[in-house]
């Protein structure tokens, strides 16, 4: 095996980029757990997002309220960390933030630089 495997090869920036992405995504549930105001704000965002999405599919009506209620129970109340992480992943993908992380881990951070 090579000396300092995974540390001095530029090709392994994929692992660093993936690690950074996971770190960014995990950060939100950690912050929600640590600070209650963030928890409340993100949950309100999630409720709005879910209701808006369901209304986009089904229009205004009783079914929208019913389906929104079910999804809010699962994604905001029961599995809030999955809902928050999912929402963050979707938002970051939409804005192309993961591409910036990939590019940054290769060029700006350059954590794969060999240790002299």
């Amino acid at each position: 095996m090579k000396k300092n495997f995974l540390m001095n090869e530029k090709g392994n920036f994929i692992f660093i980029a993936l690690g950074l992405m996971i770190g960014v995504v995990v950060l939100l549930p950690v912050l929600m757990y640590a600070f209650e105001p963030i928890d409340i704000i993100i949950k309100i965002f999630l409720v709005f997002m879910i209701f808006q999405t369901v209304r986009g599919f089904l229009g205004n009506g009783t079914m929208t309220l019913l389906v929104s209620g079910i999804l809010i129970y699962f994604l905001v109340i029961k599995w809030w960390w999955i809902g928050a992480s999912g929402w963050l992943i979707i938002t970051l993908f939409t804005f192309g933030a993961f591409s910036i992380i990939t590019w940054g881990s290769k060029t700006v951070l350059d954590l794969t630089k060999p240790k002299h």
Partner: protein, 131 residues
């Protein structure tokens, strides 16, 4: 299958089974909403639409392991996961190529290199009698 496997490896991860079941249910709701939205857009809200929704729903939910996976892939592609794959597959070979061209050693110019180069240039100019 996957939750059973996880629980057989580590019984402390019992919540995985519950999580998997709940997320499967949530995914089914999203798939159903997509079907309802697609059919009502094309056929309105009449009895034909209801029949088509029922038939498509039955076809999809009877083979949900396949169609659910396809729906997840479709959503990931829609949100631009392919961008990440493209970044990886373009940047990784490029980085490896750079490394091979440099003989496996980082050779980026830095402040010390620049200083050294300027000093050598100054010596050459002095030798040539430019100063």
């Amino acid at each position: 299958m996957i939750p059973l496997l996880v629980n057989s490896i580590n019984p402390n991860l019992l919540f995985i089974q519950e999580l998997f079941g709940d997320m499967n249910f949530v995914l089914k709701i999203f798939v159903l909403m997509t079907i309802v939205s697609y059919v009502t857009q094309h056929l309105g809200k009449g009895p034909i639409a209801l029949i088509v929704i029922a038939v498509i729903g039955w076809m999809i939910f009877s083979n949900f392991a396949i169609f659910g996976s396809i729906y997840v892939i479709y959503m990931l592609v829609l949100f631009g996961v392919t961008q990440i794959l493209m970044d990886f597959f373009i940047l990784a070979p490029q980085a490896m190529m750079e490394q091979n061209m440099q003989g496996g050693v980082e050779n980026q110019p830095n402040g010390a290199d620049m200083q050294d180069r300027q000093r050598k240039m100054m010596q050459m100019r002095q030798k040539m009698g430019m100063f």
